[in-house]
């Protein structure tokens, strides 16, 4: 009997083959994130290389948009359709909210086997470990209360870097007289919110910050310290150029880099701009914490990849490999060299990193043990997005108007208490 080639049979065999392929699929991990700028992408590549080396397939799902708002919208759609990504870059309270919705899986077994508890500062654990379970794997810590200063500008007027707010304010007229803009500023609402929190911890101190912006305590919000914070913000308002409105933060950094402006108040992600421009800390620019009027303080922002619960063993394996890769000591250093942040682990040898990173890391350890490390408000660690959004409205309205410090503080208190 002649055997006939049956197209249907061939199709069937192919289909069988395909389904077999899915059954024997390699472990994989889909990572949804908004790290699309040069330094950020390079940082994530350090994690990816490690994951791929372990034989896990990496599915990159970037969603452009610096603050992650677009990514958040996309995530909501994915979850609503019942198909969450294996890992997602998220910030602060969002992680806690999703964990409370019961959507985040945990990697407790891995964490206890690898000793995460000992390796991570409490500040980081506050935003990765929810109700005693690790639901998110931290890649790095950013410090938001930083000043980026042009050494050339300071040399030109023969001044030293400010250690108090009085010194800071006294510098402004000197810079103006020398034809240098005292403060480079990007007039976008979120940037003004970060500037506000830097001033809040600088003028009011860590304890005030915690009471007013973490606990949202009415007495602290309406108290005289908040008025003092707004008075300092009003000083800063006078140090920026009239053209600041709408400017992107990296353009403001560029003004410091090319010596047009003396200082910028911005989180330490700004360092990437300086590094990319070939500037070196100490020689060309200085990274200094904002002046602290009341003891020490450190405002931190934790970046971490949160792991959504998966049923497929391949995906679970992928998540475990990803978590191990992120927590790997070499990866943490390589990641943060590219990103300009400091590692989330506190037990690393940082000799390969620059002075800025080493100083920030030492400050984090000191503040963490003193209890003066406070979570970022603008980055929705200290409070929910609703509260932060309402507060941001009040802050940006104040910064772009002629309101008095009293009016500004009152408006902020009203906004926060109404949204609470």
């Amino acid at each position: 009997m002649k055997r006939q080639c049956n197209p249907l049979a061939a199709l069937g065999a192919a289909a069988l083959c395909l389904s077999a392929a899915t059954a024997w699929a390699e472990p994989k991990v889909e990572v949804m994130h908004f790290w699309t700028s040069g330094g950020e992408a390079a940082a994530l590549a350090a994690v990816r290389d490690k994951v791929v080396a372990e034989g896990v397939k990496w599915e990159d799902a970037p969603i452009a948009g610096g603050g992650g708002d677009q990514a958040k919208t996309a995530l909501q759609a994915r979850i609503a359709s019942g198909n969450p990504p294996a890992a997602m870059l998220m910030l602060g309270q969002n992680i806690i909210d999703w964990a409370k919705e019961g959507l985040l899986g945990n990697v407790d077994a891995l964490a206890s086997a690898d000793g995460w508890d000992a390796a991570l500062p409490q500040a980081v654990k506050d935003f990765t470990k929810v109700d005693g379970h690790y639901v998110s794997v931290p890649t790095n810590v950013h410090r938001t209360d930083m000043i980026w200063a042009s050494k050339a500008a300071f040399d030109r007027i023969g001044a030293t870097y400010p250690r108090t707010w009085e010194e800071f304010n006294a510098l402004a007229p000197k810079f103006r007289a020398a034809g240098i803009l005292p403060l480079a500023h990007g007039g976008q609402a979120w940037q003004e919110a970060y500037m506000f929190e830097a001033v809040a911890v600088g003028v009011g101190g860590a304890e005030f910050y915690r009471k007013a912006l973490v606990e949202l305590d009415e007495a602290a919000l309406r108290g005289p310290t908040m008025v003092a914070v707004f008075a300092q913000l009003a000083e800063l308002r006078g140090m920026v150029d009239p053209n600041a409105a709408g400017r992107d933060w990296n353009l403001a950094s560029a003004m410091v880099i090319n010596g047009e402006a003396a200082m910028q108040i911005m989180g330490d992600w700004a360092k990437g701009e300086f590094t990319n421009a070939g500037k070196r800390p100490g020689e060309d620019y200085a990274c200094i914490p904002v002046p602290k009027a009341k003891g020490q303080g450190f405002v931190y922002l934790v970046n971490s990849l949160s792991l959504f619960t998966q049923g497929d063993p391949d995906l679970i394996k992928g998540q475990e490999v990803l978590a191990r890769a992120i927590m790997d000591k070499d990866v943490q250093v390589a990641f943060n060299q590219a990103k300009g942040a400091i590692p989330a682990r506190a037990d690393l040898d940082l000799s390969a990193m620059d002075d800025c990173a080493r100083a920030t890391s030492a400050d984090l350890v000191a503040n963490d043990s003193a209890g003066t490390a406070v979570p970022t408000f603008a980055g929705t660690h200290a409070a929910h997005a609703a509260v932060v959004g309402a507060a941001t409205d009040a802050i940006t309205t104040f910064f772009n108007s002629g309101m008095t410090a009293q009016e500004g503080a009152a408006a902020l208190a009203e906004a926060i208490l109404a949204a609470k």
């Binding site: 708002d69 958040k72 919208t73 909501q76 979850i79 609503a80 909210d97 999703w98 919705e101 007039g187 976008q188 609402a189 009239p242 053209n243 600041a244 409105a245 709408g246 929910h384 997005a385 609703a386 932060v388 959004g389 309402a390 409205d393 940006t396 309205t397 910064f399 772009n400 108007s401 109404a418």
Partner: protein, 297 residues
Amino acid sequence: MALDTMTDFRTRLQDWLPKLVLAPSFAVTLLFVYGFIAFTVVLSFTGSKMLPRFDFVGFENYAKLFALQHWHIALANIAIFASLYIVICTSIGLLLAILLDQKIRGEGVLRPIYLYPMALSFIVTGTAWKWFLDPGIGLERVMRLWGWESFSFTWIKSNDLALYCIVIAAVWQTSGFVMAMFLAGLRGIDNEILKAAQIDGASNWQLYRRIVIPLLRPAFLSAFVILSHLAIKSYDLVVALTGGGPGRSTEMPATFMYSYTFTRNQMGIGASSAVIMLMTIAAIMVPYLYAELKEKK
């Protein structure tokens, strides 16, 4: 017998075919437009935060919404923006159409020139005008480089005037389109009427005021309907041009709705603001459409 069934089938097919062909788009519209409007209305009465949730809270979201100063700013902004935008666009469009209708040479070249801005997306318009209006790189700087040292145009950086920059950009984008609509209307007017009026000794001004413009009523209707919905959904232009700033001075209901629904985890309030937007536009459009369309009969 066979022939009978055949014709029967044909007539029935003729009867059903239009309905069959229209059915998919009808179903899609029903679901994705009216279905989601209904869904939004339902959401606005729930305490939804991050994800839709169906715990009904009555009118709480509306109460919260109208307690927000931010929302009142957005409402005031859209009122100013929409009225200026509609009035200026309509007048410029009408004027351009009348001027182009004077049987001038090169009309075929001029018409697309005025019409082309409409081919751009609002994002492109917004970005281009952002650069053009920026004092540091745009008009002001160019004027100063050309020697007019005292020239100053800083509206886009001003709390009070930035809104008018959005009006300028939006008018630039759409007036050509409105012109095209009026031009079509003008071409549709019967020449006999105009000639009769001229014989009766009507001046040009009287001709336009008493005859042409009243005859353009249908074009006014289309222009109004299109411009008012463009105004209320102005989101991309604002985001590209000012980002809602300086401060929050150019916030619009559409940008408000997006930020509350998607970035601030207050889906309930966001949904209620969307419902208010829909009701506002309905309150303006429905009586207008009703009055205009009723007179036709």
